[in-house]
């Protein structure tokens, strides 16, 4: 099985890796680039734990091949904080205790960031629909929704 050389940008850094064509982008992020923030929950695009953006579009990285990342711009949870300064969504998730085990959290943070980039002032129902592809099995969704609303307000300067 010949491996394919892939050059791409992850969180603003130019990176390259060798991918088996069957490897998902998630496999490549975790195993080749050691970016283990994105999680594999289901591996079938149902749970959203592996959410990343590719050229600004939210996707499940388990349903993208690593070789498809060639020439793209990938953003993962590792790119959200700037050094020690957490992204407002990350701070609000801690403040609102919007996580317990934390497995779904990176995917939800990335998905929520993509939502706020498109819609800085989403209604509660817009947040719930947008995040419907991110499953959480322990916290319950209310705290997550409240954290996103609070972060959105802060980011709008409200």
């Amino acid at each position: 099985m010949s491996r394919i050389h892939v050059t791409t940008t992850v969180n603003g850094d130019a990176v390259e890796f060798l991918a088996d064509p069957r490897d998902s982008l998630l496999d490549c992020l975790r195993d080749q680039l050691n970016l283990t923030g994105s999680k594999e929950g289901c591996g079938t695009g149902d749970c959203g734990a592996c959410s990343v953006t590719v050229d600004g579009t939210l996707v499940c990285s388990c349903l993208v091949l690593g070789v498809e990342a060639e020439g793209k711009r990938i953003e993962t949870v590792e790119g959200m904080a700037k050094g020690n300064d957490l992204h407002p969504l990350q701070r609000k998730f801690i403040e609102h205790a919007a996580l317990q085990c934390g497995f779904c959290t990176p995917g939800i943070l990335v998905a929520a960031k993509a939502l706020l980039a498109e819609n800085p002032d989403p209604s509660e129902s817009e947040i719930r629909f947008w995040l419907a592809g991110n499953l959480c099995r322990c916290t319950g969704y209310d705290k997550i929704i409240h954290a996103v609303q609070d972060a959105a307000a802060e980011m709008r300067g409200a």
Partner: protein, 288 residues
């Protein structure tokens, strides 16, 4: 598995024609990669269509219709204001497929080729009179969308053929379409019943109509009798009742964990009436 990223349709078709094992075309990957990861289908040759110019574009056709490239995602369709204004029913059917993440990748052509009788984007396309541009070893042909599905998981595409684009006709004046589905939840589910309706009005009456039903037969069905039931009417209660009777007569659903045959037959009539009324309202709105 060999991964190919051709830069033209001709090259993609040549690769498929030269392949001897299992071949899959990749656009959104929300079915192909699930099957790959589940070990259901491991292609020997995977042909990625996304680097072919035009396949990720939505363009106006010379006749005033639309050409939607095979690799255009649901999210891209939803962001296209003029397409949404012409064919809101087609767009809303596609936008019901999966989550935000799936919408970032999933395509109309892929949803059609997956061959599910419950595919949410297909009744809207059939009602709209959409056609697909199919290219294969024998050349390029245009086929009505309803001619593609052959049964659950099966299509009438020949070996080596791929869909290049979906073509929507010109919407024209006083036209409207709508898609409705029943699911037991509010989102992220597979249709138990789906109905697409497209119609045009003239002098306050329905001048032309197409009605398609999903998840109530082995394939999505175009129901000409349902269209006949509303053509020439003002879509009054009697016409809506006749429409419901016609789709119920055409439906041959199965009972499964998502709904009984009796339930599906009942609901398909209810949804057809509601979808027709939405399409009618949209047609009137478009006439203002």
């Amino acid at each position: 598995m060999r991964y190919h990223a051709p830069s033209s349709v001709a090259e993609a078709v040549r690769l498929a024609a030269g392949a001897t094992g299992i071949t899959r075309f990749l656009s959104g990957g929300t079915d192909v990669l699930v099957q790959l990861r589940a070990g259901m289908v491991t292609p020997d040759d995977l042909i990625d269509l996304k680097k072919i110019p035009g396949l990720r574009e939505i363009t106006r056709t010379p006749d005033g219709g639309w050409r939607i490239g095979a690799a255009v995602s649901g999210a891209e369709m939803g962001r296209h204001a003029a397409l949404c204004s012409d064919w809101p029913g087609v767009v809303e059917g596609m936008r019901l497929v999966g989550s935000t993440q799936v919408q970032g990748r999933a395509t109309l052509a892929g949803n059609l080729c997956n061959g599910s009788p419950a595919a949410d984007s297909v009744p809207g396309m059939v009602a709209a009179g959409a056609r697909v541009v199919v290219t294969g070893p024998a050349g390029t042909r245009e086929v009505a969308v309803e001619e593609i599905p052959a049964g659950p998981g099966k299509t009438r595409l020949k070996p080596g053929e791929m869909i290049e684009a979906v073509l929507l006709p010109p919407r024209g004046a006083q036209g409207g379409d709508a898609y409705l589905r029943f699911i037991p939840r509010t989102e992220m589910d597979i249709a138990v019943v789906g109905v697409g309706v497209s119609l045009t009005l003239e002098g306050g009456k329905v001048a032309a109509a197409r009605v398609a039903i999903g998840a109530v037969a082995p394939t999505v069905l175009l129901v000409p009798e349902a269209a006949k039931a509303i053509i020439g009417t003002t879509l009054d209660d009697a016409a809506i009742a006749a429409l419901a009777d016609a789709v119920r007569a055409a439906a041959t659903p199965i009972s499964d964990k998502r709904g009984t045959a009796e339930f599906r037959k009942d609901v398909v009539g209810v949804l057809a009436g509601r979808a027709a009324r939405i399409a009618h309202d949209r047609a009137k709105g478009a006439a203002k």
